[in-house]
Structure formats: structure tokens, C-alpha cells
């Protein structure tokens, strides 16, 4: 077998026209397979495969598998009972959706109320210290036991004044 492989290789390379090998190949199915493999390898190496499909042909086995599957074909129709179960579920789902949208309305309206009350009515000629297109930065100091309420209030006012001044400095920067 091994020696024939060697000879087969040289035969493919046109370096051997020994009739004995040809006969041997014609007789031996294994050698035939090897011959076709060698040819294929040669083609691929010489880039002559021209898009030759190297994939194993599996159509036969797939077709066979499909043939087998066909036996189960008649299980397509669903029993009627299942449809009846879907309807009440959808109804309930609809109820959930409405409840959720009500909750949405509540949230939205409370937001609007908050927005209205959030603008500061106490100071009359207000300079807008919110940066042009930026975000405002409300600040507050957290209480620590050592500080009195008055201290915290004073401190927050101070920070507020500093922050407003900072924004105005930016806005009036030439």
C-alpha cells in the first residue's frame, strides 16, 4: 500500500507511466480514493481548484433525514382549547396596561407641579445663573452634629452665593 502511494504520487506528477500502477489503481478502490485526494490537493496547491467545492457532499444524508422527519408532518393543527385560554390572558394584560398608564399620568402631573413650585418666587429681579445650555448645580450641605441649624443655613447661602457669582463671572467674561 505504502509503496503504491509513493508511486501514485509520482504518477500524478507525470513522472511515472508505469502501467502496473494504473492497473493497480483501477482495481483498488482505496487507491482510487487516494488518487482523487492527491489530485484535489494538487489542484488546491496550484490554485486551480476554480472555486471547487471542497465541502463534503451531505445532501444525500440530509435528504434521508428529511424523509424520516416527514412522518411527523400531520401534527401542525393546534387543539381548539388553547385558543380559548389566550383570550382571558389578553384581557388581563390590557387591564395591566391601563393601570400602568394611569400611574404614568400621576407621575407626569406630579412632575409638572414640582416644576411650577421649584422656580424661586422670593427674589424679584433674578439673574439666570444657570449656564447657557449647561446644567444647574444646586448644592446643599449635609448636617454634622457639631453644626447648628443656623450654621448650615448660613453655609448653604454662602455656597449658593459663590456658585451664582461663579456662573455670572462665566457669563460676563469678555
Amino acid at each position: 500500500m505504502k509503496e503504491y502511494s509513493q508511486n501514485l504520487s509520482s504518477f500524478i506528477d507525470n513522472e511515472n507511466d508505469d502501467k502496473d500502477i494504473i492497473n493497480k489503481v483501477l482495481e483498488d478502490a482505496e487507491l482510487q480514493q487516494q488518487f482523487s485526494r492527491y489530485q484535489l490537493i494538487g489542484d488546491v496547491l496550484r490554485d486551480e481548484s476554480n472555486g471547487l467545492d471542497l465541502r463534503v457532499d451531505i445532501t444525500d444524508s440530509v435528504m434521508a433525514a428529511i424523509e424520516n422527519e416527514k412522518q411527523d408532518d400531520n401534527v401542525v393543527t393546534l387543539p381548539q382549547k388553547k385558543d380559548k385560554k389566550v383570550v382571558p390572558f389578553m384581557k388581563r394584560f390590557g387591564q395591566y396596561a391601563i393601570a400602568a398608564s394611569v400611574a404614568g399620568v400621576v407621575v407626569v402631573s406630579s412632575l409638572m407641579i414640582n416644576q411650577e413650585t421649584s422656580s424661586d418666587p422670593s427674589v424679584v429681579p433674578v439673574l439666570n445663573t444657570v449656564p447657557f445650555g449647561g446644567t444647574a448645580a444646586p448644592v446643599s450641605l449635609q448636617a454634622t452634629p457639631k453644626q447648628t441649624q443656623h450654621d448650615i443655613k448660613e453655609r448653604n447661602e454662602r455656597l449658593d452665593a459663590l456658585l451664582k457669582d461663579h456662573q455670572l463671572q462665566l457669563q460676563t467674561q469678555p
Partner: protein
């Protein structure tokens, strides 16, 4: 035997085919040069953004997010007779509008009297990034194109501006590949955490200026306010250390605007992107600790009390920077 010879020949042929590639790859300039090349592409994109942002007619709807607060806003920009005009408004809640045109910025707010300030500094949302001198800024930032994506329905390219030190934040800018307008801006700290994000959700560009905006430019603007509160032209204090790229752009003593307080010494720093305010005054209310830090998004309010002196630093800088600046403050001799 012959088959082996064939294989040897094949192998040598293969190696010959691969070799030129190997040679080429070693020839492709050193990595440093590659870096400078990518820097240049990034800078050219950023410069295109600068041009687009200041010269095109466009309308942006965008969101700012900083610590779970989201507010939709709109910016309409146009150019009238070579002059830029920008109109900004909040889309939710009370009407708050701003118009910047011809050296003036005017504020209109529901229920309050409108007023203007005289200023030439572009104060629209992407202005600080868009007007940055990217070539000069190369000393403080490295620019890297990090990839492409899609924002507001547009093809976008992301460029990272990485700070070369820890004294400033880094940024990621997303640009529309079509108009080069900015679409998204992330402010990130050194651990790559997004502190603040501005995201455009709708971008419309037009060849002609928005007619309504053009009409706005002809309207009389509210009176210009002159907030002269400075009591002295120089601050009583000096900053010994500044992060690279920062300069002192203003120094005075003034009463805090809109508050009748004792004058404070004031110093303003600018690195082309962020403006930082430093206030130095006497201690009014003693804090429990020597230092106090409030952060919101990328903005920091840093307070330090030492002896009877209180230093407040406000701006978009990391804490380390504020600490070092505060530590370097000394009275003027």
C-alpha cells in the same frame, strides 16, 4: 522522494511570498510616528468640528445628564451677515431662553425681566470644546480616534481627548461624519468614569439660516447690565501653582454678585476648556472639617479653611487639582 522535493520547493515559495510582508511591516515607520499621524487625523477632525460649529446653520436638540438629572434643551445656530447668532431654550418647564448675538448675551425668563450682558465668549453647550485650540492643547491632551458609531441617527466618529496628567478631566467627543458637528460629549475622570454627558438627539442642518432666527437678530435686545462690583483691581492673594495649560485670566476683589457681602478676593483660571473660580475670604461660618468637597457631575466646589482664611474653588476640575491650587495660595507681598 520527488514528492519531498516538491514540498521543499513549495515551502520555499511560500516563505518568499510571506517575506515581503514581513520586511514591509518592519519598515513601517516607528510607533511614535504612527502616533503623531493618528494625532493629526484626530486634530483635523476636531478642527473640522470647530469650523462646523461656528459656521453652519443648524438646530440641535440635546440632553444633559449629570447624576440622574436629565433636561432636554434646544440650540439653534445660524450666521447672519458673517455674525454668529445662537438661540437656546429649555424644552421642559418654565420658559427660559437665551440669545447670543453681536457681543451680547440676553436672558429671557418667564415672569422675570429680560436682561443682557456684554460678552464675546461663546457660551453655547459645546462651545468650550469646539472653540478649544487643539494644536496648542496637544501639550495637555492626547487625541485618539477611537471608533465609529451612530448617534441621533447619524454616522459618528468618536475622538478621545486624554489628559496627559491627572489635573484635568478627559473627554470623548462624537462628531457627525457628514457635517462634523458635535453629537455627544462625555466628561470622564481618570478612572474612565463618565461624570457628565451631553447627547444630541436630533440634528438638523440647513444651507439657509432659520428665518425666525434671522428675524430675532433684528429685534432690539434687552438692556445690557453692567455688574460692576469690583472694589479693587487686583486680588490680595496669589496662586503659586497652576496645572499645566491653565492661566490666570482675571483677578480682582468684589462683592459676590446679587449678595451684599464683604468683598472677596477673586481669581479666574482658564485652560481653554474649563474656567475655574477661586474665592478667598475670611472664614464666616466655621466648618466641622478643614476641607469640604461638593461634586455634581464634573463640577466641583471645594472649600478649605485654614486659620482665618477660607478658600473656595469652583470649576470643572478633579479634586487633586483643587487641593493643590488651594495649598499654593499665598498673600500678595
Amino acid at each position: 522522494m520527488k514528492c519531498r522535493l516538491f514540498l521543499v520547493a513549495l515551502c520555499s515559495l511560500m516563505s518568499l511570498l510571506v517575506a515581503p510582508k514581513l520586511i514591509a511591516s518592519t519598515e513601517i515607520v516607528s510607533t511614535e510616528e504612527v502616533d503623531s499621524q493618528t494625532q493629526e487625523t484626530a486634530i483635523s477632525y476636531l478642527n473640522k468640528m470647530k469650523q462646523a460649529y461656528t459656521q453652519l446653520n443648524y438646530e440641535l436638540v440635546y440632553l444633559n445628564t449629570a447624576q440622574n438629572q436629565i433636561e432636554p434643551k434646544r440650540l439653534i445656530h445660524g450666521v447672519v451677515d458673517g455674525k454668529r447668532i445662537a438661540y437656546f431654550s429649555f424644552l421642559n418647564g418654565a420658559m427660559r431662553e437665551t440669545l447670543q448675538f453681536d457681543g451680547k448675551i440676553s436672558f429671557y425668563q418667564q415672569g422675570n425681566q429680560a436682561y443682557s450682558f456684554a460678552t464675546q465668549r461663546d457660551q453655547s453647550i459645546f462651545a468650550n470644546i469646539a472653540n478649544f485650540d487643539f494644536v496648542k492643547g496637544n501639550k495637555s491632551y492626547e487625541y485618539i480616534v477611537i471608533g465609529k458609531g451612530r448617534i441621533a441617527g447619524k454616522k459618528a466618529i468618536a475622538i478621545r481627548m486624554v489628559s496627559k496628567d491627572n489635573y484635568r478631566y478627559s473627554y470623548i467627543v462624537w462628531l457627525d461624519l457628514n457635517s462634523y458637528l458635535p453629537l455627544r460629549l462625555d466628561v470622564i475622570n481618570k478612572s474612565n468614569l463618565i461624570l457628565e454627558q451631553t447627547m444630541v438627539v436630533s440634528l438638523i442642518t440647513s444651507d439657509q439660516i432659520n428665518p425666525w432666527l434671522k428675524q430675532l437678530s433684528t429685534q432690539t435686545k434687552p438692556e445690557v447690565l453692567h455688574l460692576v462690583t469690583a472694589t479693587a483691581k487686583v486680588a490680595q492673594w496669589d496662586v503659586d501653582w497652576l496645572p499645566k495649560g491653565f492661566e490666570i485670566v482675571k483677578g480682582d476683589q468684589h462683592k459676590l454678585m446679587m449678595h451684599d457681602t464683604d468683598p472677596v478676593s477673586y481669581i479666574m483660571l482658564d485652560d481653554g476648556i474649563s474656567l475655574v473660580s477661586i474665592y478667598i475670604s475670611n472664614v464666616k461660618t466655621r466648618l466641622a472639617e478643614q476641607q469640604r468637597v461638593i461634586k455634581r457631575g464634573g463640577t466641583l466646589i471645594y472649600t478649605k479653611q485654614q486659620d482665618n482664611v477660607e478658600v473656595n474653588i469652583i470649576g470643572q476640575i478633579p479634586l487633586e487639582t483643587a487641593e493643590r491650587i488651594a495649598a499654593s495660595i499665598k498673600p500678595v507681598r
